[in-house]
Amino acid sequence: MSIYQGFFIFAFILLALGVILVVVNNLLALRRPYKEKLIAYECGLDPSGDTRIPFRIRFYLIGLLFLVFDVEIVFLYPWAIVFDHLGLFGFIEIFVFMIMLLVAYIYAWSEGALTWE
């Protein structure tokens, strides 16, 4: 508790500040809404058309592949620090790990997951 005391005070002040700002605003702010104030802003014109745009599934696929290879990189960082100490055994072990992810990479590439359209 004595080490993290500063951190707890900092977190508590942040939380309290956020809560106070929102709650006090809700209680004390002046509210006089009328119809023209509440419509969506579209450079002064009347709003027209649909608010939805089609979502490209490619974004999801790229995010998924990024997640997998990012986790691989996260596993490589600690290995890179203690690489000397682990010797040949550690090198071959991380090599096997990377070969399995290389198989996944070649599979994703040959299925066309890395092209944009």
């Binding site: 399995m100 198989v103 070649i106 599979y107 040959s110 299925e111």
Partner: protein, 483 residues
Amino acid sequence: MGITLNFSVIFTEIIFILISSLIFLTDKFIKNKNYSFYIAFITLIVGIFLALFTPFGNFTYAYQNDFSSSILKLFVLFGAILITLISYNYLQHFKALNYGEYYGLILFSLVGSFIMLSAMDLLTIYLGLELMSFPVYFLIALNYAYNKTSLEGSLKYFLMGSLGSLFILIGLGLVYYFIGTFTLPEISHKLIEESINNKILLLAFIFFLGGFSIKLSFVPFHMWAPDAYESAPVPITSFIASIMKFTAMATLVKIILIGFNPLKVQIGELLIPIILLTILIGNIMAIKQDNIIRMLAYSSIAHAGYAGLGLISGNYAGYSFSIFYMLVYLIMTIGIFSVLVFLANYKKDLLNIPNMAGLSKNYPFISFLILIFMFSLAGVPPTAGFMAKFYVFLFLIKAKYIWVALLAILFSVIGAYPYLRVLKVIYMDEKDISFEYKYGITFLIPVCLTAFLVIILGVYPQVLTNIIYKTIYLYVNLFFYPQ
């Protein structure tokens, strides 16, 4: 507890992973579409030899290859060979399913099953559970070309499987906080020697039970089963129903016997309402179903309940008959789904029960096979299903839970109706079905072998029963004399 690294002990898993990666990498570049079937089949035959001749030993403290895990792996491999054969038959007629990914994913799922069966460590069991389940989520969704609801079934199974993993991880955290290790024999020893509060470890086990009961489809978590089973390709449905449930039950028995041995009787008592509700709901919901695969999905919920009755009796023989029940269920399931593959190949709407009317007039062999498997599922005497139910109820009564056995027998009488209704529609309705058919050898081998085993095990189950009892005996030995 040492780190000994005999790589020869995990040789089977290494070979399976390498060959499955080979299938994934090269399947797009090879012209012959059946190439991946031949490779997968040869790998499974090689896997049987490896399971028989791999040396016993430990690979670190977490993975142990001994007689019990070799025998259980042999059972899983036997089921996997039959499923691969019937998949070949299915894929000849349903050509839009991608062959390479199909067989490669089945091999990955089998590696996960092997890891679960030989694990001695709770974290390794969790790893095997995830590795076993993920390829199956994709395999269900492969059916998108033929059944658009397969994505829904796969997503439901995925979400409930993630919930199960969440429960298992909470249980792991509780176990580690109070005991300090994940290794199964040491958990039991610390429970006996030091005075750790039994109730907290019982709570941790309840979280594990929640996670495993999603795989075994016990009652509060059974809702994924009908949708996933109905919309998957038919051989994949038999893979989920037979091999995944067998592995999950065997692993649960191992966790209870080696890991939580002092809590056996309390675990049995808390399982009673879950298992009784499972049997009741599985049997009642199967009555109204018109699609035979949905009916078999609800019946598989009920059969997992019957196998769980062996877990309620806290004696060692009850646990061994729990595994025996799941093995008999594996054989029956692969048999009945192989017959359904035959029916689905030639006329897709034959999978609806009223459309099967009058099947016995022109196709007596197929009707006889359906008769054998339906009698075995219902528990009629000369078949293996009766023997398995008999032994499970016998050891439940020996453990003095007579009212539980009485209620379970009542519910199983309700459950005999769906199977007998199928037989009534096939044999006693007056309609005419005819279609061109051909018995390929990849259909005849699984079907004849499983029908033969069902009848033989119904009159002489002692061979398999003795083997499974020896497995449990070795687990108990491991608990009392850890190496």
